[in-house]
Amino acid sequence: MALNTEPSNEGAGAEGRPARAGRPALVKRLTPPRKPPRASKHRRPAAVGHARETGDRRLGYLLAAPVVILLLAITGYPLIYNIWNAFHFDNLSYGNLPHNFVGWKNFTTMFDSPQWVSALERTLVFTVVTIVFDLVVGMALALMMHRNFRGRGFLRASILIPWAMPTVVSAMLWKTMFDPSAGFVDYILAAFHPAWSGLAWVNINVWRAWTAIFIADSWKNIPFVAILLLAGLQVIPNDVYEAAKMDGASWWQSFTRVTLPMLKPALSVALIFRTLQALLVFDVIYIMTNGGPGSSTVSLSYLSYNTFIINTDFGLGGAMSIILVLLALAVSFIYVRAFRPSTS
C-alpha cells in the first residue's frame, strides 16, 4: 500500500531534525495511536515501532502544515492585524499612515458616534425580525415538505433552488424585481390598487427599502432553515406520534409537545446560523440599497466596511469589526449554552 512507502522518507527527515520540546501535546492530538483496527493494518513489528511512530508524527505535521499555514495567513493574520489597527490612528485621508498608538480612543469614538449606535439598533432589529420570520416560515415549509403527497419532489426542488444561489446573485435578482420599470412587484401590486404602481422601492422610502432587503434576504435564507428543519423532522421516529395519537393529542398538541422538543437540535443549528448571518448582513444591503436612502439601511457590517474601505479610517473601522466579531462570538456562546442538551 501507499501507506508503507511514506514513513521511510519521513524517517530520514526525522533523524535530521530532532523533535522539539514544546510540541508533544499537539502531536498527541494529531496522532492518536489508540485505534486498534486501523493502526494494526500498517503497523510493523515492535523492533521498528518507535521509528515508525516518530515517522507518523512527522508525516502528520507535514500533511497538516499547509492547512494551518493557510488558515493563519487568511484568518489569523487579518484578525490580529485588525486588533492592532483598532488601537492605532491610521487614516489614509491624512496622506500618510502615522501608526500612532491611541489606546481605546477608537472604541470610545465608535460608542459615542450616533451612526454606529443607530446601525447597531437597525442590525439588532433586523436580526430579531428575520430570525423569527425565517424560523416560523421555515418550520411551515419543512412540515409541508415532510408531508407525503404527489409533487413533493418538485416542491422540495423548487424550495432548494433559491438557497443554492449566491447571495450577491439573489440580491441583484430582487433589485431587478423591485425596479419600477423592469420588475414585476410594482406591476402586480398595481393590479390591486392603482396608487401602488411605480413605487420606487430601493432608494426613496426607508420602510420600503427595508422591506425589499428583508424579502430578498428571506427568499434566499428561508429555504436553508426549511431544509435543516426537514432533516430534523425526518429523524423523529414515528412511534412517538402514534403514542401521542393514542393519548388523544390533537395536531397542535402533538406539534408542540412532540415535534418541537424533538426538533431542538435542528432548531438550535438553524437559529445559530441565521442569527450570525443576520448580524453580519452585508451583501444584500450593499447590492440593493447601498445603505440608502441616506444612511437608513446601514448595518454594522456595512458601516464597518464604509469606515474601513471608503473612508480609509483603518483604526475606527478595525475597532468596529472587532466589536462585531465579539458580538457574534457572544451570541453563539449564549446559544450554545442555552441549547446544551440537558440529558448529558
Partner: protein, 126 residues
C-alpha cells in the same frame, strides 16, 4: 437521498391517506386538501417566479425593457427577441470575466482539495 428515507417510513401520512380514502366525501377533508395544495402552489410560485421573470426580461429588447411592464410586455410578452444574448457575446466584455471565473474556480478547487485532503488524512489516520 432524504426523500428515499422518508418514503420508506410508513408515517402517519400513510394512515391519514387511507383514512382519506375511506371517507372520501368528507367535505372538510376536501377543503383541507385543496388549501394545502393551494399553499404548495403559492410557495412554488414565490420560489420560482423571479427566475421566470429574469428569463422573460432577458428575452426582451432594450426598448421593451425601458417601456416598462404592461401591454404587450406583460407577464407573458407577446414579442420576444434574442438580441440580449447576441450582445453578451458581441458587445459586452463577457468572455474575459467568464475566463477569469473558470480560472478561479479551477485553481481554488485544485488547491482546496489537495490541502484539505492532506490535512484530513493527517487528522483521521495518523
Amino acid at each position: 437521498m432524504t426523500s428515499a428515507v422518508a418514503d420508506d417510513v410508513p408515517v402517519p401520512v400513510a394512515a391519514h391517506r387511507t383514512a382519506y380514502r375511506r371517507r372520501q366525501f368528507s367535505a372538510g377533508k376536501i377543503v383541507k386538501e385543496t388549501l394545502f395544495y393551494l399553499a404548495v402552489v403559492i410557495v412554488v410560485l414565490i420560489a420560482l417566479f423571479p427566475f421566470y421573470w429574469i428569463l422573460r426580461t432577458s428575452l426582451l429588447s432594450n426598448q421593451q425593457v425601458a417601456a416598462g411592464v404592461g401591454g404587450a410586455n406583460g407577464i407573458i410578452p407577446s414579442h420576444l427577441s434574442g438580441v440580449a444574448y447576441e450582445n453578451v457575446f458581441t458587445q459586452a466584455s463577457f468572455l474575459t470575466p467568464l475566463l477569469n471565473s473558470i480560472i478561479v474556480a479551477l485553481a481554488t478547487t485544485v488547491v482546496t482539495i489537495i490541502v484539505a485532503s492532506m490535512a484530513g488524512y493527517a487528522l483521521a489516520r495518523l
